[in-house]
């Protein structure tokens, strides 16, 4: 049953990769991609750890949560892309003016 932890760790990896790209890349489209990768990492962890059930059936609650999360993610992505295009029309660049260092 330990492939569960393998996928959970991959989830952690995706989360961190996404976070790195989010901070480092100035282009907004890349930032949006990065947020999506981070989200996938979170969902992967959520669902993978739900497979630690003793029987043959997984825990359905994290599955429902992941589906909710996926729908939220596409909503946020759609809004972010539209906003990015507005920013580009207004400023000529699809980037934020100065990078806030975190």
């Amino acid at each position: 049953m330990s492939h569960v932890f393998l996928y959970a760790l991959v989830g952690v990896g995706l989360f961190t990769l996404g976070l790195y790209a989010l901070i480092v890349h100035p282009h907004l489209l890349r930032k949006i991609l990065a947020i999506n990768v981070m989200g996938s990492g979170v969902f992967l962890m959520l669902v993978a750890l739900g497979r630690r059930t003793p029987g043959t059936l997984p825990d359905p609650v994290p599955h429902a949560m992941a589906i909710t999360g996926i729908v939220v993610a596409i909503s946020a992505t759609a809004l972010a892309l539209a906003l990015m295009l507005r920013v580009q029309v207004e400023t000529g660049r699809a980037e934020l003016p100065e990078e806030p260092l975190e």
Binding site: V12, M45, S75, L85
Partner: protein, 242 residues
């Protein structure tokens, strides 16, 4: 936080200027911090017990009274239906946001080739069938409103790619009604249930299956149309109101 220092903005192509060095240092620091984060998270994950039932048993026990036999659908539309209600709100909200940015960006010049045209003629009816099937099958097998809705949305995207645009008559109130149908039916069902003396989203067991199907059907339609509308990327223009 470094708002007061504008030198970050100057990205010089020259190699190894002061800015580049600074950036390199920043990245190294970032990588170190993130590796620390990943290690910590990994450790936390691995420290969890290797076997845990979660809520699977509780879901299984209550599945019979939920009105559906697919546990995921039961969670989404009964046990945690309130999450789903708010989530339909999130989807609609995204569209409201996109529409508030302005009207549809000007039409793209590229005309659909014959391939896309034929493809959409073949695929769209098929996708609608698949959506209907997924909606229906969701009660007892993998599928459900979100999957069905997104397949419907894909059909819409294909139609849009092939150059189809909604007629002016459809763009006003009728379009808005289909967009809010999912959330609206959810809210109405909730209100009616409260009025007849139940709790928020407490379906009487004998009606559960019907109510879930009703909500899912409306949600599928709304999700599909909303996703296609998000693809257009702006408010369709046909007279300001109605």
């Amino acid at each position: 936080m470094q708002q007061s220092q504008p030198l970050k903005k100057t990205i010089n192509p020259k190699p190894m200027t002061e800015g580049v060095k600074k950036q390199l240092l920043f990245r190294l620091l970032l990588v170190a911090l993130l590796s620390l984060l990943a290690t910590g998270l990994g450790y936390a994950v691995l420290s969890l017990p290797s076997s845990a039932p979660g809520l699977s048993e509780l879901v299984a026990e209550n599945l019979e009274t939920s009105g559906v036999s697919n546990p995921v659908t039961a969670v989404l539309l009964n046990f945690r239906a309130y999450d789903t209600l708010l989530e339909l709100g999130v989807l609609l909200l995204a569209l409201l946001g996109v529409w508030s940015f302005g009207a549809v960006p000007e039409r793209r010049e590229s005309f659909p080739g014959p391939v896309l045209d034929t493809l959409s003629r073949l695929l769209v009816p098929l996708l609608i069938l698949v959506a209907g099937y997924l909606l229906w099958v969701g009660a007892h097998a993998p599928g459900g409103a979100f999957q069905a809705g997104s397949v419907l949305g894909a059909a819409g995207v294909l139609l849009l790619l092939a150059g189809w645009r909604p007629g002016a008559r459809f763009v006003g109130l009728p379009l808005r009604i289909t967009l809010v149908a999912g959330l609206g039916v959810f809210v109405i069902v909730s209100a009616v249930l409260i009025l007849v003396g139940g709790r928020l989203l407490e379906y009487p067991p004998s009606f559960a299956a019907t109510l879930i199907l009703l909500i899912e059907a409306a949600a599928t339609l709304s999700i599909g149309i909303t996703l296609a509308a998000l693809f257009i990327g702006g408010r369709p223009e046909a007279g300001p109101n109605n």
